[in-house]
């Protein structure tokens, strides 16, 4: 692994940190992808495997109001995200992920934890700790419990630059 040298450009760090605040994706303009669920309410577990650059499975079926426990496993060689949201939310999040790549937080197959924890001023960081998403290095796996509150156009997607556009997304179909 050729760990690319980290280039910290402090001046460029004046990114909108609110975007990284928990649960604030997409500004919540009516369209909603649901809300964080309680593990105890999860009726079933869906395992989602992440490869370079696609998911298996690529569609999941849920009932409105259902809480699902996801086990997300990164089986690829690159950093991938599993993020539940509307297409508009993903589009917004892609800008943030782009900055994370530009600032060396995401480097191909590695996450720079130090960078993620770094205080970027105003108490913000690039932690990427939103409850609707997980960001994993190759080999890692993580759980995410999500309650699908209502119907709507919802996708799970990887917003690492280029991945969504190349087709790393899956459809959430409501029964």
């Amino acid at each position: 692994m050729n760990a690319s040298k980290l280039l910290v450009v402090a001046a460029a760090m004046s990114m909108s940190a609110t975007a990284f605040a928990a649960g604030a994706h997409g500004g919540g303009h009516g369209a909603s992808s649901g809300e964080p669920g309680k593990a105890s309410e999860a009726g079933r577990t869906i395992t989602v495997e992440m490869y370079d650059n696609y998911y298996e499975p690529e569609t999941i079926e849920v009932k409105p109001g259902e809480t699902v426990r996801f086990v997300v496993e990164n089986k690829g060689n690159l950093v991938h995200e599993f993020n539940i949201g509307t297409p508009a939310m993903h589009e917004n999040h892609q800008k943030e992920m782009k900055m994370m790549v530009e600032h060396g937080v995401i480097q191909g197959g590695k996450l720079n934890k130090q960078m993620m924890d770094m205080d970027m001023g105003n108490g913000h960081s690039m932690k990427h700790d939103d409850p609707n998403s997980v960001l994993l290095e190759p080999g890692q796996s993580q759980e995410l419990v999500w309650k699908f509150t209502g119907k709507g156009s919802i996708e799970f997607a990887c917003n690492v630059p280029g991945h969504y556009q190349a087709g790393m997304y899956g459809d959430v179909n409501f029964k």
């Binding site: 692994m1 050729n2 690319s4 040298k5 980290l6 280039l7 450009v9 460029a12 490869y51 370079d52 650059n53 696609y54 690529e58 060689n77 690159l78 530009e102 060396g104 191909g108 630059p161 280029g162 991945h163 556009q165 190349a166 087709g167 790393m168 997304y169």
Partner: protein
């Protein structure tokens, strides 16, 4: 690695389910109608470009090629990994295909992606003898799309290849209609001052070099899939669909800057090998390169695919639309590119700061001290911050006049952005380095490697199993797309094990570019600049791979001995 070895053994022990396909191609005289002119040329199965050959990874193909011309012909499968005697280069792979004769190619398809094929005889390729190859992978594609189109570019010229070569030998600027004029002198003088402009012209005149020497052969009509700008090839889509566009540059001489105003493009493959997706607004496709991009038009409107030549002397145009007949605006050509002293860098080792006038605005923030022998390590991070400052790309000389910029001010693809999606080879130290100076003399229209033309050159000898690092030092003012047959070219893009695997490496003027090759294919191979008239003028080598398994006995065995336990 162990599991992979095991998989290898298993797949060997299991009875092979071998696909086999037989295909026929005829080589014919055809008429090519560009919309601007009709010209007799050469095509396949009665058309130029020829058909799209669709193969499946793992298939054993048999291709019967019948020569209906009254001259020798050949077909080279550009980018395919195959036994050398199937590579289709007369004088290197085989003698060629005689008039009236049918030659049957047989080789296993060991890869997937977008490639192309073309004649390797005389100037048949510029005269129209080329087609596309699309290979479906054994497994799934690592990306999703609803439909795909081949977008095959060419620079069709009203003159035959032989005539162009002869004219270039007689008058090297025969086709250059973007030369600096009296008018440009005065407009430059108004902008940069009379003395500066005079000094600039004198400096170039002293070298007998032209700032306008970006495109040797102008006067072509850019074509996409055999259709000129007015004939407007159209690819249909349903709004919201993802479309995979397989761009292939089959031009004789022309690099194109490609954009689709209104659409973001995600580059997913380069030269047939998947790359980590890169979102771009525009990309430059060198001669013989391929780039696969995914676009997602959401609106029910037409979008123009606009491919502007690097020197801005011409363009190709096509359309993506929900229905036939729809059109979008066709952009204007941008101003012709002008080389700067930086592009002459490797040639004269001048002080790059003092000479260039017209590019002064590009250069204000750049450091000229580190131009030669670029260090690509850590470049992936560096390139991004540099691009925020002004047009800069580690694969162009600093202050170069031909650094591409996106027409909409957005992201222009750089070689530094290309990272292998799934590296084909283990990264390892090269066993040795071979330096190849790309050399030439524009006023004589001679092109060579290390100052020696092919006619006078000894072959480059490689040993099977070694990993060779090639160092290209471009001492000329032109950009050369270097193509090694038979083995992959691992471009040193500063990404270590993620370095992209290509078949054609473009080397800009005044730069040094490295590529590494795992010497895993026995036999003899061609290695040349893919600009037709440069190759014909001598920028060409034979490569002999010594040792290794017999190509006929183990067609599938194409990896290195060391690779197994690497």
């Amino acid at each position: 690695m162990k599991t992979r070895l095991l998989t290898g053994f298993l797949s060997l022990l299991m009875p092979a389910l071998v696909l086999a396909g037989e295909y026929d191609l005829t080589v014919d005289r055809v008429n090519i109608d560009t919309g601007d002119f009709v010209k007799e040329g050469i095509g396949y199965n009665g058309k130029s470009p020829g058909p799209v050959m669709r193969f499946k990874e793992g298939e054993n193909v048999k291709i019967n090629v019948t020569n209906n011309l009254d001259e020798m012909t050949s077909i080279h499968w550009h980018g395919l990994i195959l036994p050398f005697d199937q590579d289709g280069v007369p004088g290197i792979s085989y003698p060629g295909i005689k008039p009236g004769e049918t030659f049957t190619y047989e080789f296993p398809i060991q890869q997937a992606g977008t490639y192309w094929f073309h004649s390797h005889s005389g100037f048949q390729e510029p005269d129209g003898a080329f087609g596309a190859i699309v290979i479906e992978p054994e497994g799934r594609e690592p990306f999703r799309y609803d439909r795909d189109y081949v977008v095959q570019l060419t620079d069709k010229h009203p003159h035959s290849g032989d005539r162009i070569m002869r004219n270039l030998k007689m008058m090297p600027d025969y086709y250059n209609r973007e030369q600096q004029t009296v008018g440009e002198f005065f407009s430059d003088a108004a902008e940069n001052g009379l003395m500066n402009t005079l000094q600039d012209r004198m400096a170039w005149g002293d070298m007998r070099m032209m700032k306008a020497d970006v495109e040797d052969v102008q006067g072509f009509t850019g074509m996409i899939n055999g259709m000129g700008p007015d004939q407007n090839w159209t690819g249909l889509f349903e709004p919201g669909e993802r479309i995979r566009l397989r761009f292939i540059n089959s031009s004789a001489m022309t690099y194109f800057d490609v954009r689709i105003p209104g659409l973001d493009m995600t580059v997913v493959q380069a030269d047939g090998n998947n790359v980590q997706p890169v979102n771009v607004d525009e990309f430059r496709i060198g001669v013989a390169e391929t780039y696969d991009v995914i676009v997602r038009p959401k609106d029910a409107q037409a979008y123009t695919i606009f491919a502007e030549s690097m020197g801005r002397s011409g363009y190709a145009r096509a359309t993506l639309a929900p229905e036939e007949g729809m059109e979008a605006a066709v952009p204007q050509l941008r101003e012709p590119a002008r080389l700067t002293m930086a592009d002459m860098g490797a040639m004269h080792g001048m002080d790059h700061g003092s000479m260039d006038m017209s590019g002064a605005q590009d250069m204000s923030e750049m450091d000229h001290s580190t131009m030669q022998g670029m260090d690509h390590s850590g470049m992936d991070q560096g390139s991004m911050t540099m691009s925020e400052k002004g047009p800069s790309d580690p694969f162009y000389a600093k202050g170069s006049g031909i650094v591409p910029t996106a027409a909409n001010g957005g992201k222009f693809l750089s070689y530094a952005d290309l990272k292998a999606q799934d590296p084909l080879y283990e990264d390892r130290e090269p066993t040795r380095e071979i330096e190849l100076s790309l050399t030439g003399n524009m006023e004589r229209y001679t092109w060579s490697i290390n100052g020696v033309k092919y006619e006078d050159a000894d072959p480059i000898r490689l040993q099977y199993g070694e990993r060779v690092r090639f160092k290209f030092v471009n001492t000329t003012m032109m950009t050369h797309p270097m193509h090694l047959h038979g083995m992959w070219s691992i471009l040193d893009a500063g990404a270590g094990e993620w370095n992209p695997v290509k078949h054609t490496i473009s080397v800009a003027p005044g730069t040094t570019v490295y590529m590494e090759t795992e010497v895993d294919a026995p036999g003899q191979w061609a290695f040349h600049c893919h600009l037709s008239y440069h190759a014909a003028a001598g920028m060409f080598r034979k490569v002999i791979v010594e040792g290794g398994p017999d190509a006929t006995q183990s067609k599938a065995a194409v990896a290195t001995e060391e690779g197994g336990d690497a």
